[in-house]
Symmetry: D2
């Protein structure tokens, strides 16, 4: 298992949910870059648990300490290592012999012969998205500095509901029922120049989707109109090309989400990720006691969000930034 | 641009739609493997144009010649190179200065400073999926030999219609209108053992989606219930774990499409790809004459399918096989 | 086995000595580059067999056909595939059951379970350096165009003799005795800018040496004074830094061969490769008949150079160019 | 800059000589492996400074703390992160504006625009070999467990002298003269099975040499008889093949150091690395004051070994182990 990604902006993530620490080594940062750590902390805070009644009561400071790659507030060009010690760990909530349906527990136990760190999902935990958000926060600053690129994601659906006014109520209801809900996040990237990406295997869609699917609970990804495109006529979804008032090439529509043939075309990038409901719910579920190989019904009681969609918003932005930073 | 993919089963694709040839170098094949080339040709035939009234009238024999990596009918362990000369090329159908909306033409012209091979889409053409199908056909034989794995994809929607009886009519209607339609392909993989894939960046979903998005016209990918999962309660989509009659671990449902935490869990793999309508239609579209920078309305008249979904079915199977062959 | 190298200038080599063809797919070429194929052919000619009485009598035209990646004499940005059909193949010279000492025959038979193409060394053959020279010829043109970089290699020793006047006599004597000799090639690169390479694992020395050791028969590599450095005092081999008449940083010596800490320092790059004597000689050698597992003494009679050092000179230049093209 | 290496056994090194910490993330470790940390510490101790009168007086505990990837004394399959805080750092010994001849100082200043951490060589420092030795110590345990492989390196020359009895005297003399000496290390690997490595670009020689040249001060690498091979007749260096008393294939000589065609042949692996004299000596050297661009003569007075060859021995063994662990 090697949790590394990227060819230019290269990240190597480590740690476990209930281990000593989590962190990331970032390679490929330019020398002389002066990160805005206030913004980095703000991004981490958006992802952090314990911020609302509807989120998991686990509280993590998510304070990353930078142990290499910087000198006098600037990057040196050497790998930057950021470390975050875990606190508030309650391992007794987890039991190795009862794999949680919908979680990696069973697949990981088989893959690693039972030696994986099962506590809180171990290396599979959503907690590992914190170092990803850290790295993404640096990537988005590089993108902004170089091209004025802005990335922003929003929840567009919770449990099928599209009115934001109702999101909190739906989540609260799920929480009170001991149940969970999912939703859909839409991300838009403004300012990416035309010509990024490669044909065939290294299309922008390939890179962005690979990273989106690395976020736990993402089960669907679409670009532009996505699945809806498959239900339209070609003539209805033509992204006509024109010339704007400045004599620049422009588009009359953006059904393709800013990507043609795997390459950015200069239009806004638009993509969506479908997040499934948190599989850990207190409503009893069927599982198997791995000690006895007997089916059991169990109520899983760890501290969990009834809906991780709000916390996934900054993660979607982070992976978008990491994917695009490859093209700098 | 390097059209390479894979770490173990490694492919390097080359060629252009209207160039001399297309082909693929395949690395990582085991020595002593005796490919069934009758089956390979059958897969290529499924993808080939010119098979029905509804498909492009371009006819390509798609006969690949193997120039390295085999001796006496068996792989040697050295890279296998398969070459297919292009025939029936009519470049005059394409005009460099009129980028087709929804195609890579404009993005590629910007990326490559106008030096890209624009004829028929060049290296961006769907024709490059032929070597991918060739490689995929070998990969699926390896998967079958090693684990009895079977991969099969089907069209489940054309222009939103789910009844297969109506697919031909919808496509014919589009063709007669000079228009095009898209659809959705579902792929199922039986027999993949539990424990394949890696947590975080190299999840099975990441690998499969990266390859699916390398197929031209794919704009959405989902696993298991995918986007529909985002609209359900956690309690409704619990893939309960149980023990079957043989005392083996089994699942009571498969909303997650056989993958948890990025790792196969032993259940059937299920995923879907959304294919957009072919952007080349004879209904006039808005574009810009790159010689004059003037907007024009143009009817693009190349030989094109009104619906590439049927031809994409074997391609989806091929990339699924290539993605999974990494885990052998 | 995947004979690929490179991250930016990416090559994928295929073919066998006595198979149908050899060739290379080159990714990462910039679009719009107009290669000088007269120069490419000249480089190939320098490497080609059959040029002197002292070289193998096998004659190969080594004419590469370019089947993708070019349009109207310029690169398109898509992968360039160059193919060379084999001619003048006499497989009966080789016998699978008698592994040649010092060759890959035995190791390959074990690695590939006897399925490797043993004819003339198959994929292990020095013939595979022809596509490497092809790729290197393009790389050196890119380096020259971008930075005026010039690469040139020379034989500095044959069988320990340093006077070039005597090289031919030594080789002739070896040929007449049915024996073989090796030698040392020195390569110098002028014009590489300071700052290329990475600390630690991706040092210029690491990259160049990895490629030099991919040339069959290379058994030693050194940079600057190399092994001789290990025998001197630090004070004797200090590459003092100064300022030249133009006010530019300059060096008072170049014991380090233009590389410090894995990074080019702007001085000339200097390195050497030791080439062993050709292991195929007609003087009888001890081997084992793999059919009977009995020791035998055998005289190997294939058409072979008594000294491959002269033909290796353009190969050393080629791999130097390929290694450095990564930094463009 | 990304200090990562490996495809299976994957390491990502970070840190600076005079920064907060150094460390390594190791991916690809099997789950359930129980490392012997007593042995790891012993390897680190062999590399550590401050062990003899002849070594640098800097003292580092080199105690690595493991922050991820282990549970109950066994690896979990997740990335293992090992961290070592720096102590006894005296940055005032280093001056940014006076680049040390033979060091990366000048090349790094150019490469990173002056933003690199110059203190003690920063990320270029030999101190970064400590995490490499840590990773290598795990790799050699894996090799021993899997195949009984044993790796051992020895000094065979100091300043050209081959008698070990005189090594200490030579080093002492250099130290007293404010000078430095280099030497040659030979490494032998017993037990590597036949068939490891790939033809052409991923030969065992390519991998091992790439890693050896990542050790600061290594300027030459040779396999088997290496450069001496280039001075012999083919008939003199034939590694005849025979059958031993157990009916197993064996070799009558090992001039090729256990590697043919880039593939291990089952014989002992033998290779050597040439280590240059430490460039930091107190004898005055010529350099340039980068503030004034004026040539100056300067005596560099940091705490340095007059000969790093003894400390490089465990590093050579470590990189050999890391290179070979790719084939497990």
């Amino acid at each position: 298992m090697n949790s590394q990604w990227g060819k230019k902006f290269k990240i190597s993530v480590f740690g476990e949910s209930h281990g000593d620490a989590i962190g990331v080594v970032i390679g490929g940062l330019p020398a002389g870059f002066e990160p805005d750590f206030t913004e980095v902390r703000r991004e981490l805070q958006r992802r952090a648990p314990g911020q609302s009644d509807n989120a998991t009561p686990r509280r993590e400071a998510d304070e990353f300490e930078i142990l290499s790659g910087m000198l006098d507030g600037r990057t040196t060009g050497a790998p930057l290592m950021a470390l975050c010690r875990n606190t508030d760990v309650r391992s007794r909530d987890y039991e190795r012999h009862l794999p949680r349906p919908g979680h990696a527990d069973l697949a990981a136990a088989i893959k690693y012969g039972g030696f994986n760190d099962y506590r809180g999902g171990g290396h599979f935990s959503g907690r590992l998205t914190a170092p990803v958000v850290f790295a993404g926060a640096l990537a988005r600053q590089l993108l902004r500095n170089a091209h004025g690129i802005e990335i922003s994601a929003d929840i567009i659906e919770i449990r099928g509901e599209r009115s934001p006014d109702k999101f909190d109520d739906i989540i609260s209801a799920a929480r009170m029922a001991g149940d969970s809900v999912g939703g859909i996040i839409e991300c838009r990237v403004r300012g990416a120049p035309a010509g990024w990406g490669e044909p065939i295997f290294h299309s922008v869609e390939s890179s962005v989707s690979a990273l989106l699917f690395s976020i736990p609970a993402v089960k669907g990804v679409e670009f532009g109109d996505g699945f809806a495109l498959a239900r339209r006529l070609g003539s209805e979804v033509s992204d006509g090309i024109t010339v704007d008032n400045n004599g620049e090439i422009a588009f009359l529509a953006n059904h393709n989400g800013g990507i043609n043939g795997g390459i950015t075309n200069g239009a806004e990038l638009v993509f969506r990720a479908a997040i499934k409901p948190t599989p850990t719910i207190s409503i009893p579920q069927k599982t198997v006691d791995l000690r006895t190989n007997e089916p059991v019904t169990h109520s899983f009681t760890g501290r969990h969000d009834p809906c991780i969609v709000p916390r996934a918003v900054p993660i979607v932005e982070a992976v978008a930034a990491i994917a695009l930073a490859q093209y700098l």
